[in-house]
C-alpha cells in the first residue's frame, strides 16, 4: 500500500520529521516499509513559466511561437518555445521543462529546431508530466505561482511516497487508510492526532432510504442520499494526493469515494441515484450461474457464495469487490447514493480470488473491517463534499440495515505479565502511556496487583486485539524492541536426546563427500513423470499434488534415486566421470497411518558413472565393483553388520536383470541394493553414444540400516605365533561362484584360515572355454603353535581335493 507523506500530515503534525524518518518509525514500530521515494521527482526540475507573448509559427499553422519568462532560469532572457497545443495563450502560467530535463517515459528535453525555428524547452501537458491522461492541451497552472519556481514547490506537489508491504498489514484492518497510520506515527512520536469530526450528518426528516439486507454476507448496509451534487474535476489538492498514492484521478465523485477509502480505510461506493430503481437497495446472495457486468466491462459468472447489491431488477454491485456498469456516476450526475457497508471478509475474499479480481475494496474488506466504520465513512463523504459544494442537500435519513454489533471489547492484562513476557522492566506509567496513545482506554482497579481492563476500540477489535498477548505486543512494539535487554537462557543441564538417524546421515555424508569422492546433490521432492516413465516406474502409487507447477511434476517421489538419474546426462556432458549422492525422503501412500499420512522412508542414493573399463576380466576396475567397495565401507562406517550379498530378489524395473546384488535384512528386505543401469533404460535417459559409460547405482535404506545390529565393540589379542602366507590359484568352471570358492578355501583350512583375499580373476585360452581362474592370498594362522611348511602342504592337498569336487583344479602360481 502506498502512503503519502503529505496526506499523513493532514492527520498529524509532521514538522521536523523527515519522510525517511516516518518510514523508519513505521518500520521499527508498526509494519514493513518497502520503500520511501519522492513523488514525481521530475516536478522539481520543471519550472513555472509565464507566457509573455504568443504568435503563430511562420511556417506552420498549427504551431505557436511563445516567448516565456522563466525567471532566473532564463538568465535575463525570455525563452523562445515552439508549442503545438491550441490552448496556449499569452498571460498564462505554464509548466516549462528546460533543455536537459528528463521527464517520465524517457522523454529528454533538448534544444531543437522545429520547422526552422529554435525551441529552447517544452511547455508541458499534464500527461507529459504523468499527472493525468489529459494531453489535449498544455497544463495551465492555477493561480499565480511564482515565476521560475519549481512546479512541485509552487503548487505544493512536493510529496514522498512510503510503500508498505500489504502482507505485514494482514492483521491490522485499522491501517488500511492514512488516518490509521497517522495514529501510529502520533503514538510513536508522542504527538496529537488531529481531530476529525465523523459524527453522522444531520439529514432532513422523513422515511429513511429503503435498504433491505437478505444475505448473511452483509452485516451492515448504509445508504445515504445526497442531492444537489455537481460532478467535475476534483480539486487539485485531492487529485495530487491521489496521484501520489497511485490512483488516477477520474472526476470529483469517483475521486472523493477513493479519497475517503484511502483516508479511513473503509471502501464505499457512489451510485448515480437517478439510475437506481425507486424501491431502493436490496443485498442478497447471488444465484449460481447468474451473470453481471462489472465496472471494468467484463461479464462475470457468479456462484451462491457471492453477495450482490441490487436495485429493482438490476445488479448494481458485486458486494465488496466492484461496482456494476449500469449505475456509475458520470458528468450529468446530480444526486448520489453513498454506499458504505460491512461485508463478510471470507466471502469477499473468496469471490475476489475466484474471479481474479483483487480490488482496493476487496483487499480491505477481507481484513475484517469494523461494522462501525460505514457510518463514519458516509459522514466523511458528506463533510468533504460539503466543503467543496456547500449547497448539497441530504433529503432523507440514511437507510441502515443489517445484523451487526459493535466489536469493541475489553481485554484484561496485568502490567507484571507485560514485563514478564517482554523481559523488560517497563514501568506501569510507560505501559499506560503507550496504551493511551493507541486510543486503548485503561480502567485500573483499586486492589493492588489487580489486572487492568483495557477497552479496545471497534476498529481494532474485529480480530487484531483479542487476548492479553496482543496487548503485550502493542506495548512491546511501541516501547521499542530494541530497548529490551538481551538475556541468556539459564538452564539445568540435561543431555539432549540422541538423534541416531542424524548421526548416521552425518557419518555417511562425511565418508562419501570426503575420500570416497562423491558429490552431494539435492534435488526436488517432485519427480518428473517422463523420468519415471523412462525408468518404468510410472505404474507405482504416488502421493500426487492437486496443483502442480506443471503437468508431469505432480508426483512426490517414493525413492531418491530416480531424481539423481534424471540429472546424469546433464552432468555427463561436462565430465567423463560422475559421482553423485543424495540423502532424502520418499513417501509411500500405500502404507498410510491412521491419519492418512503416507509412510516416510529415508534413503541414500548413489550413482557412479564412469567410462566403461577396458575389455578384459579385471574384477576390480568396473564402476559396479568400485561402488560395491564404497557401499561395504559405508556399512563399516555405520558400525552395522552387513548381511552377505545375494542376487537381488525383487528388482526395480530400471535395474540390470543380471548385474544386481542386494544385502537383505532378516525380513528379506534389501538394506542395500546395488546394480548397473539396464541398457534400454540407459538409452532412454540419453546416456548413449558420446555420453555412454557404465552407470552403477546403489540405494541404501537408512531405516533398515538403523535397524541392523551393531558390530559388537571388542578386541582380540594379537597372535602369539607367526602365520604362513600361501597363494592359491584355482581354475574352476564359470558356474562356480567366487563366494562358493572362498567358502571351500576356508573350509579346507579347518579353522586355520585367518584371511582369504581375491587378488586376480583371469579368463583366457589357456584355461579352456567356460573356465576361469581366481587367485587368492591366504593367511594360515594357529593360536597354539608356529605353522610349518608341512602344514602348508597339507592345506594345499585339502584344497586340491575340494577343488576337484567343484570341477576345478589348483594352478601353479
Amino acid at each position: 500500500m502506498k502512503v503519502s507523506y503529505r496526506w499523513l500530515g493532514r492527520h498529524v503534525d509532521l514538522a521536523g520529521i523527515a519522510p525517511a524518518e516516518v518510514a523508519n518509525d513505521l518500520t521499527i514500530h508498526t509494519a514493513e516499509v518497502e520503500g520511501c521515494e519522492r513523488f514525481a521527482p521530475w516536478l522539481a526540475d520543471v519550472v513555472v513559466g509565464h507566457v509573455v507573448e504568443r504568435v503563430r509559427h511562420p511556417d506552420a499553422d498549427k504551431l505557436s511561437l511563445c516567448r516565456v519568462d522563466v525567471g532566473p532560469r532564463g538568465e535575463g532572457q525570455l525563452l523562445q518555445i515552439v508549442c503545438g497545443a491550441s490552448n496556449v495563450a499569452a498571460g498564462q502560467r505554464v509548466a516549462v521543462a528546460l533543455a536537459g530535463t528528463a521527464l517520465p517515459n524517457d522523454l529528454k528535453i533538448k534544444k531543437s529546431k522545429i520547422r526552422g525555428v529554435e525551441s529552447q524547452g517544452m511547455i508541458c501537458s499534464e500527461s507529459e508530466l504523468s499527472l493525468s491522461d489529459e494531453h489535449a492541451g498544455i497544463w495551465v497552472l492555477p493561480g499565480e505561482p511564482r515565476i521560475g519556481a519549481p512546479v512541485s514547490e509552487a503548487l505544493g506537489l512536493d510529496d514522498w511516497v512510503i510503500e508498505i508491504d500489504n502482507k505485514s498489514l494482514t492483521h491490522r484492518p485499522d491501517l488500511w487508510g492514512h488516518r490509521g497510520l497517522a495514529r501510529e506515527v502520533a503514538a510513536i512520536r508522542g504527538r496529537k492526532l488531529a481531530p476529525l469530526d465523523l459524527a453522522p450528518p444531520r439529514t432532513s426528516a422523513g422515511a429513511p432510504y429503503p435498504v433491505r439486507v437478505e444475505s448473511a454476507g452483509c452485516a451492515r448496509y448504509l445508504g445515504l442520499v445526497i442531492e444537489g451534487v455537481k460532478n467535475g474535476p476534483a480539486p487539485e489538492w485531492m487529485r495530487f494526493l491521489l496521484l501520489a498514492v497511485g490512483q488516477r484521478p477520474i472526476d470529483l465523485l469517483v475521486d472523493l469515494s477513493n479519497f475517503v477509502m484511502l483516508d479511513l480505510g473503509q471502501p464505499n461506493h457512489l451510485f448515480d441515484l437517478g439510475l437506481l430503481a425507486a424501491d431502493g437497495i436490496r443485498v442478497r446472495d447471488a444465484r449460481a450461474g447468474e451473470r453481471m457486468r462489472t465496472l471494468d466491462g467484463l461479464e462475470r459468472v457468479l456462484t451462491a457464495e457471492d453477495v450482490l447489491v441490487c436495485s429493482g431488477d438490476e445488479i448494481v454491485a458485486l458486494a465488496g469487490v466492484m461496482g456494476g456498469e449500469g449505475s456509475k456516476v458520470g458528468p450529468e450526475t446530480g444526486s448520489v447514493l453513498v454506499e458504505a457497508a460491512a461485508f463478510d471478509p471470507t466471502r469477499v475474499r473468496r469471490t475476489a480470488a475466484r474471479l481474479g479480481l483483487r480490488t482496493d475494496a476487496s483487499t480491505r474488506f477481507e481484513k475484517n473491517l469494523s461494522p462501525t466504520l460505514p457510518a463514519e465513512a458516509a459522514a466523511h463523504v458528506v463533510s468533504l463534499l460539503r466543503s467543496l459544494q456547500p449547497g448539497l442537500r441530504l433529503p432523507r435519513p440514511a437507510g441502515d440495515a443489517g445484523q451487526w454489533k459493535d466489536p469493541a471489547r475489553t481485554v484484561s492484562i496485568s502490567p507484571a505479565r507485560v514485563r514478564e513476557v517482554l523481559g523488560a522492566p517497563i514501568p506501569d506509567a510507560e505501559i499506560e502511556r503507550i496504551l493511551g496513545a493507541l486510543e486503548l482506554r485503561l480502567e485500573k482497579r483499586a486492589e493492588k496487583g489487580a489486572e487492568w481492563r483495557v477497552h479496545v476500540p471497534s476498529a481494532r477489535a474485529t480480530k487484531d486485539l483479542t487476548i492479553p498477548e496482543d496487548l503485550i505486543e502493542e506495548v512491546g512494539r511501541m516501547h521499542g524492541y530494541g530497548r529490551i535487554p538481551v538475556q541468556a537462557l539459564q538452564v539445568e543441564l540435561h543431555p539432549a536426546p540422541w538423534n541416531e538417524r542424524a548421526e548416521l546421515v552425518r557419518t555417511l555424508a562425511d565418508r562419501l563427500g570426503g575420500a570416497a569422492g562423491f558429490h552431494e546433490a539435492m534435488t526436488y521432492s517432485f519427480v518428473d513423470s517422463a523420468v519415471l516413465a523412462a525408468l518404468g516406474l510410472d505404474g507405482e502409487r504416488y502421493v500426487r499434488l492437486a496443483n502442480p507447477q506443471s503437468a508431469g511434476s505432480e508426483r512426490v517421489r517414493r525413492s531418491v534415486l530416480p531424481s539423481l538419474l534424471a540429472h546424469l546426462a546433464k552432468n555427463r556432458r561436462q565430465r567423463p566421470e560422475v559421482r553423485l549422492f543424495e540423502i532424502g525422503k520418499g513417501y509411500l501412500p500405500e502404507h498410510a497411518s491412521a491419519r492418512h499420512e503416507p509412510l516416510e522412508v529415508h534413503e541414500l542414493a548413489l550413482v557412479w558413472m564412469a567410462p566403461r573399463p577396458d575389455a578384459g576380466p579385471g574384477f576390480a576396475s568396473s564402476a559396479f565393483a568400485r561402488l560395491q567397495a564404497v557401499v561395504e565401507d559405508l556399512f563399516r562406517d555405520a558400525g552395522r553388520e552387513r548381511p552377505p550379498w545375494t542376487s537381488a530378489p525383487a528388482l526395480p524395473a530400471w535395474a540390470h536383470p543380471v548385474r544386481s546384488i542386494a544385502a537383505a535384512d532378516g525380513g528379506g528386505q534389501p538394506i542395500a541394493l546395488l546394480t548397473t543401469l539396464e541398457p534400454e533404460v540407459q538409452a532412454r535417459l540419453d546416456l548413449t553414444g558420446e555420453l555412454d559409460g557404465e552407470v552403477a547405482c546403489a540405494v541404501l535404506s537408512l531405516d533398515r540400516l538403523l535397524a541392523q545390529p551393531r558390530v559388537p565393540a571388542g578386541y582380540r589379542p594379537l597372535p602369539r605365533f607367526p602365520g604362513v602366507k600361501v597363494d592359491v590359484a584355482a581354475a574352476v568352471p564359470e558356474e562356480c561362484s567366487a563366494g562358493g570358492l572362498e567358502q571351500a578355501l576356508r573350509a579346507a583350512g579347518k579353522g586355520l584360515v585367518e584371511s582369504c583375499d581375491l587378488f586376480d580373476l583371469y579368463r583366457g585360452a589357456s584355461l579352456g572355454a567356460g573356465r576361469k581362474s581366481l587367485a587368492y592370498h591366504v593367511l594360515l594362522q594357529a593360536e597354539d603353535r608356529t605353522l610349518t611348511e608341512q602344514d602348508c602342504a597339507k592345506y594345499l592337498a585339502r584344497v586340491e581335493r575340494a577343488l576337484a569336487e567343484l570341477g576345478g583344479e589348483l594352478r601353479k602360481v
Partner: protein, 353 residues
C-alpha cells in the same frame, strides 16, 4: 736399525700411497688404491708379511710402525672418500632440474552440499547449547501446517502460503518447518527437562514461479524454546549469540513487528548487512539491513495445541531462511543452483566441516 728400516721401507710406502689417495678423483679409483696398498698382496700387506725376517729385537717397533702406517692410510682413504662423495652429490644437485611448479597428481575427493555445510554449522552451534536437532515430514497434514498453528480454514494467511496441496485435500507439502513445533511438543515436551529446546532444519515448499531469487523448494530451520519465564529478551539474546557464531562477528540485529499467526508478539529479525558496513549494497538492497528470519513468542493457542499450558509456560520460536543464509554465506547469486544437482556447482564445496 729400526729407524733405518722405517726410513727405507715404511716411509716410501706412506708417501706414495698418500700422494695417490690425494690425487684420486673418483670413488672407484680410491677402491683400487685401497686394494693395491691395503689388500692382501698390497704394499702394507707385504710389509707386514716381512715381519718374520726382522730381528726379534726390532720386531715390536717395526710392527707398531707398520700398523700406524695402516691406520694412517685407512684414515686418509675414508677422508678422501667422504670428500669425493660430497663433491659427487654437489655435482648431481647442480645438474638436477627440479620444477617446483609441477602439478601433483589429483586425489579424487567429494563435496558436501553448501546447505549441508551451513546446517552442520548451525546444528553445531545449537546442539552445543543443548538444543536437539529434530526432523519432520515434508508431506504434512493440514492440521500441523495450519490448523494447530492458529491458521484455521479461511484464514487469509493461508493464501500467502502458496500451498502445494495433495490430492484429497488433507495433505500438503509443508510450507514451513513450523508444523514440527507442534509435533515436537506433542512428543518431546518434558517438564522435568526445561527449557525444551529444539531446532528443525528441512525443506519447505511454496507454489511460486521459480527465478533467480525464488524457488518452489527451499530450506528453513525452525527453532523452538519453551519453558518457564522465557521472554523476548531471551529470544534476542539467542539470535545474537547464534549470529555471532555463524558469521564469526558481532553483528547488530533489530527486531521489528511482523505478523505470523502462530506467534504473539511476532517479529521480523533483521541483521546488519555484513557486506557493506552500513553503506548499502546489492545484497541488502541498499537498506543496510538483511531480513533474516521471522520469529516471536509462541502463541498461547499454539502451546495449547501442543499440549502445553500457556498459563505456566511461555516460549519463543524462529524460522530461519536457510536457502537465503546459504546464498549470503557463499554469495550465490541464483537460488536455482541449490537444487540443480550440477557438478560444476557442487564441486566447489570440498569441505566436510
Amino acid at each position: 736399525v729400526s729407524a733405518e728400516r722405517a726410513r727405507t721401507e715404511v716411509a716410501p710406502i706412506r708417501e706414495q700411497a698418500l700422494a695417490a689417495i690425494g690425487a684420486a678423483s673418483a670413488v672407484p679409483e680410491l677402491a683400487r688404491i685401497e686394494r693395491e696398498v691395503l689388500g692382501k698382496d698390497g704394499a702394507v700387506g707385504r710389509l707386514l708379511a716381512g715381519i718374520r725376517e726382522v730381528p726379534p729385537a726390532e720386531r715390536k717397533a717395526f710392527g707398531e710402525a707398520a700398523n700406524e702406517l695402516k691406520r694412517t692410510l685407512e684414515g686418509a682413504l675414508a677422508e678422501r672418500r667422504a670428500a669425493l662423495e660430497k663433491e659427487r652429490i654437489a655435482a648431481e644437485r647442480a645438474a638436477e632440474h627440479f620444477d617446483p611448479t609441477l602439478p601433483a597428481p589429483r586425489v579424487e575427493r567429494g563435496s558436501l552440499h553448501p546447505m549441508t555445510l551451513v546446517v552442520r554449522r548451525l546444528e553445531r552451534i545449537f546442539t552445543s547449547m543443548g538444543y536437539q536437532a529434530l526432523d519432520g515430514p515434508e508431506v504434512e497434514l493440514d492440521y500441523y501446517n495450519f490448523e494447530a498453528l492458529n491458521i484455521p480454514r479461511d484464514h487469509p494467511a493461508r493464501e500467502m502460503h502458496d500451498t502445494f496441496w495433495c490430492e484429497g485435500g488433507e495433505l500438503l507439502m509443508r510450507t514451513h518447518t513450523s508444523p514440527v513445533q507442534i509435533r515436537a511438543l506433542e512428543k518431546g515436551f518434558d517438564p522435568a527437562a526445561l527449557p525444551f529446546r529444539a531446532i528443525v532444519p528441512g525443506r519447505c515448499f511454496r507454489n511460486e514461479t521459480t527465478d533467480a531469487s525464488h524457488e518452489h523448494t527451499f530450506h528453513q530451520m525452525e527453532g523452538l524454546v519453551v519453558g518457564k519465564g522465557i521472554t523476548v529478551g531471551h529470544l534476542i539474546g539467542t539470535m545474537k549469540t547464534f549470529l555471532r557464531e555463524v558469521f564469526r562477528a558481532e553483528l547488530e540485529v533489530r527486531l521489528r513487528p511482523g505478523y505470523f499467526p502462530f506467534v504473539e508478539p511476532g517479529f521480523e529479525l533483521d541483521v546488519r548487512c555484513p557486506f557493506c558496513e552500513k553503506k548499502g549494497c546489492s545484497v541488502c538492497k541498499r537498506s543496510t539491513w538483511i531480513e533474516l528470519c521471522p520469529c516471536g513468542m509462541v502463541h498461547p493457542r499454539v502451546l495449547n495445541y501442543g499440549g502445553v499450558d500457556p498459563a505456566v509456560y511461555t516460549g519463543f520460536a524462529f524460522g530461519l531462511g536457510l536457502s537465503r543464509l546459504v546464498m549470503l554465506f557463499y554469495q550465490i547469486e541464483d537460488i536455482r543452483h541449490l537444487m540443480g544437482a550440477d557438478l560444476r556447482f557442487l564441486e566447489q564445496f570440498p569441505h566436510t566441516r
